[in-house]
Amino acid sequence: MLLPVSSDAQLARRTVQLATGSLARRKLSQKVAFVFLWLAGFLVVAALVWIIGYVMVQGVRVINLEFLTTRPAGGVSGEGGISTTIVTTLYLVVLTIVIATPLGVGAAVYLVEYAEETERESRLVSYLIAIARTGIEILAGVPSIIFGLFGFALFVSAMKLKFSLLSAGLSGACLILPVIIRTSEEALLAVPRSYREGSLALGATKWQTTVGVVLPAAMPGIITGVILSVGRIIAETAIFWVTLGGSYRLPASLLSSGRSMALHVYMLASETRAFEKAMGTAAILIMTIVMLNLIINYTSRRFAARMMGKSR
C-alpha cells in the first residue's frame, strides 16, 4: 500500500480506493491519528522545556559574581568558579572564527563566482572543483570526535603543538569550515544576477564586482553562518576534550592548555560530585545559545528583507 505515487492516474485510482468506507469511520481514525501526532509534537516541546527548565532552575542558583570571576580550583573538589573557562571559550571562538572564515568565504566565493568560467577553460580545474564539492560534503558529515582524533594526531602530536589553544583552534576551524562554506555559498547565490551585470557593464573587473557589490549584499547571510558556527564551537566538547587538554588555568598564550565551558561541565560531572556547579555552567551555556539563536533569527530576517527589498 505504501508505494510511491508517480502519476495522476495512479493518484486518482488510489484515492478512489481510500474514499470508500464510511465517512464516520474515516473521520474517527483521523481524530485518533491526529491525537497521536499532536502528542508527538507536545512531547518534543515538553522535552525541551523540561531539560532547559530543569538545568536553568538548578543552575541559576549557583551563579553569582564569585562564580563568574574566580577560577576553578581543579582536583576533585569542584570548588571555585568558572572564570578561566569563560575566557578560554572566548579565545577558542575568536581563534576558530578567524581561521575558518577567510578560508570558508574564499572557498564559497570561488565556487559561486569563479567556478563556472574556469571550469570551461580547463578540464583539470573542473575535476578539482567537483572534488572540492565532494570534499566539503564529506567534511560536513564527520562527527566531532573524529576531528578531535585528527587534531590530536596532526596538531598535538605530529606538529608538536601539544594540548593548546592553537591545536584546539585549528581543529575547531576544520569542524566549522563546511558550515561557513555552505551558508556563504547560499548567501552569495541569493545575490541577484542583475547586480553583477550592472557592475560589469560599468567597466568594473570581476574581482571589483565581487568585493564591491556581491559580498556586501551577501554579508548578512555570511554573518548568519558565522554566528551559527560560534554556537557550534561553544557547544562542542568531544573535539576539545582531545586537543585542548583540561587545565583549569587561564591560557597565557596560544600554546597553553585550557578548558572550555562545555568541557568544564563534563569534567565537573564526571570527575567531581559538584553537580550544582555543572548545572550553573550549563545554565550559562544555554543562555548563550538562546541569545545566539535570537541573533541568528534577527540577521536572517534582515537578510531576507534586504533581498526582498531589491527585487521588484
Binding site: 491519528a33 562527527p143 538562546v290 539563536n293
Partner: protein, 482 residues
C-alpha cells in the same frame, strides 16, 4: 570632457578619467615613511653586524652575552643573525623604494605589516590583562578589575596608536599611488588561484584526516590484526593490566553503538516524523511559530547538557525500575538522550521532504473526498518516502557519531551488553560502551598499540558514518530528480 558636437575628422576618445587618475607629486608623509624604512634597513645591517662580531669586554660585549649570542666558545648563531639581518634590510629597502616611487603594492605591504605588528602587540596586552583579572583564585575586587582593564585598554591604544595613525594616513593618501593595468591583471590572476586553493582546503582536510588517522591506526592493524579487532569480543587494553594479556576486540563497542542507535531510532523517529507532519500539514501558524524555534533550539544545546540531564534526572528515574544491577546508567538512558538529540535533524529533513510533495497530489486526493489524514497517510507520506528515509538515515549517522552525552549516561562497561534478567527487554538496562565512547574515555592515557587501536576505532567510525551519509545523500538526490 564630453565629445564635441560632431565635427568631421575628429577622433573619438578623450578619456575623462585619465589612465593615471592619481594625483602627481610625492606627499611629505610618504617621503618620511620611505626614509624611516631606509633607516630600518640600515639599522638591520648594523644590528646584524653588532650581534655577530665579537666585541670585547665593554658594554656591547656583555649585551652580547646576555642575549645569548656569545659564549665561551665564541659567537653563536652568527650565520643566522647575519642572514636575518640581510633579509630584513633587503625587504625594508625594497619597500622604501616602492614607497618612494609611489607604487601601490608597497603601500599595501606597509599597511598590512604595520597592521600585523599592531595586532600582535594588542593581543599580548590583552592576554596579560585577562590573565590578571580572571586567572586568580579569589575574586578580584571591582576596583582592581577596572584599573587593570583601563591600563590594558591604554596599553592597546598606545601600542596601536602609532601603527594605526600611519595606516590611516597611508589610506587617505591613496590617490597618490598608482597601479598599472599589468599589475592589476597579475593580481586578478593571483586572486583567482588563491581562491581555488581555499576551495580545495576542505578536500585537503579530508585527505589529511584520512591520512593521519590511518597512519596512527596502522600499528594496531599490523600488530593486533583486523580480525582480532573486528571480531574479538574482549576489550582489555594492555595499558591497564600489562601488555601480556591485552585484548583489543571491538565487538562489545560495536554492539553497544548499534543498540544505542537502535534505541534512539525507535524512540526518536516516531516523535520526529509526527512532529514533521504536524509542522508541515496540520499545525496552525501560531503553534508552528513556537514549535519550530523549539526544535531548532534543541539542535543548538550542547551535548554535555543533555548528558548532565541524563545523569542527574534520567538515571534516578530509570533506577526506579526494580531490576537487579540496574544502576540507571545504560542503554535505555543513552537511547533517550540520543533520541532527543536526533530530533532536530530528523524532523527538519522529514519536514522538508513532506513540504516538497507537489501540491496537486494533496489537492487531488482531497478533491476526491479523502480525509486529511488519509491524504497524509496514503498519498503524501509515500510520495515523501525517500526524503523521510534519508532523514532517518541521517539521524542514524548523528546517533552513531555522538560522544560526550553518551559516555555520561551509558555506563561505559566493556562487556558485551546482556539482558539483566530473563526478560530480554532488560538488555536496555544494561551498561554498555559505544565506539565513540571507547575513544573518548581512553585516548588521554593510551599509549602504543592501545592508542593505535583507538585510532583504528576512529577509522572504523569514519567509514561507517561516511557510508551512512552517502546513502542518505544518494536518497535525497534521487528524490530531487524524480
Amino acid at each position: 570632457m564630453r565629445e564635441p558636437d560632431s565635427a568631421p575628422g575628429m577622433t573619438a576618445g578623450g578619456r575623462q578619467l585619465p589612465a593615471s587618475s592619481h594625483q602627481t607629486g610625492r606627499p611629505l608623509f610618504v617621503t618620511i615613511v620611505a626614509i624611516l624604512l631606509v633607516a630600518v634597513a640600515i639599522g638591520a645591517i648594523v644590528g646584524g653586524i653588532l650581534l655577530s662580531v665579537p666585541a670585547g669586554e665593554g658594554a656591547l660585549g656583555s649585551l652580547q652575552v646576555r642575549l645569548g649570542v656569545r659564549s665561551e666558545e665564541g659567537m653563536q648563531y652568527s650565520l643566522q643573525i647575519l642572514l636575518a639581518a640581510i633579509i630584513l634590510a633587503g625587504l625594508s629597502a625594497l619597500l622604501a623604494w616602492g614607497m618612494w616611487t609611489l607604487q601601490n603594492w608597497a603601500r599595501t605591504a606597509v599597511i598590512l605589516l604595520l597592521g600585523a605588528i599592531g595586532l600582535y602587540y594588542g593581543l599580548t596586552v590583552m592576554f596579560d590583562a585577562a590573565g590578571q583579572i580572571f586567572g586568580g583564585e579569589q575574586v578580584v575586587p571591582v576596583g582592581t578589575i577596572l584599573r587593570i582593564a583601563f591600563s590594558g585598554l591604554f596599553g592597546v591604544v598606545a601600542t596601536g596608536l602609532i601603527p594605526g595613525a600611519i595606516i590611516y594616513a597611508l589610506i587617505r593618501l591613496d590617490a597618490h599611488f598608482e597601479e598599472s593595468p599589468g599589475q592589476r591583471a597579475f593580481i586578478d590572476r593571483c586572486i583567482r588561484h588563491l581562491l581555488l586553493a581555499t576551495a580545495l582546503s576542505a578536500v585537503l582536510i579530508v585527505f589529511l584526516i584520512i591520512l593521519f588517522t590511518l597512519a596512527e591506526a596502522w600499528e594496531a592493524i599490523e600488530e593486533i590484526g583486523l580480525n582480532t579487532m573486528l571480531l574479538g569480543t574482549i576489550w582489555r587494553p594492555g595499558s591497564i593490566i600489562g601488555a601480556e594479556d591485552a585484548r583489543f576486540g571491538l565487538v562489545p563497542m560495536i554492539v553497544g553503538s548499534i543498540l544505542a542507535t537502535f534505541g534512539a531510532i525507535v524512540l526518536g523517529v516516531p516523535l520526529s516524523i509526527g512532529t514533521a507532519i504536524l509542522l508541515a500539514e496540520i499545525a496552525p501558524s501560531l503553534v508552528r511559530e513556537i514549535m519550530r524555534p523549539a526544535v531548532e533550539l534543541l539542535a543548538g544545546i550542547p551535548s554535555v547538557v543533555y548528558g548532565l540531564f541524563g545523569m542527574v534526572v534520567l538515571a534516578p528515574l530509570i533506577r526506579k525500575i526494580e531490576v537487579p544491577y540496574n544502576t540507571g546508567f545504560g542503554l535505555l538512558n543513552a537511547s533517550i538522550v540520543l533520541a532527543v538529540m536526533i530530533l532536530p535533524t530528523v524532523t527538519n529533513i522529514a519536514e522538508d521532504a513532506i513540504r516538497a510533495v507537489p501540491r496537486h497530489y494533496k489537492e487531488g486526493s482531497l478533491a476526491l473526498g479523502a480525509t486529511h489524514w488519509q491524504t497524509i497517510r496514503d498519498v503524501i507520506l509515500p510520495a515523501a518516502r525517500s526524503g523521510i528515509i534519508a532523514a532517518i538515515i541521517l539521524g542514524i549517522g548523528r546517533a552513531l557519531g555522538e560522544t560526550m552525552a553518551v559516555i555520561m549516561v551509558i555506563g561505559n562497561s566493556i562487556a558485551i551488553p546482556k539482558p539483566l534478567t530473563n526478560n530480554p527487554l532488560t538488555l536496555f538496562l544494561s551498561s554498555a560502551r559505544t565506539l565513540t565512547g571507547n575513544i573518548a574515555v581512553e585516548i588521554n592515557y593510551a599509549a602504543g598499540a592501545h592508542r593505535s587501536a583507538l585510532f583504528f576505532t576512529g577509522v572504523l567510525l569514519f567509514l561507517m558514518i561516511l557510508l551512512v551519509n552517502s546513502l542518505a545523500r544518494y536518497l535525497m538526490r534521487e528524490r530531487l530528480s524524480s
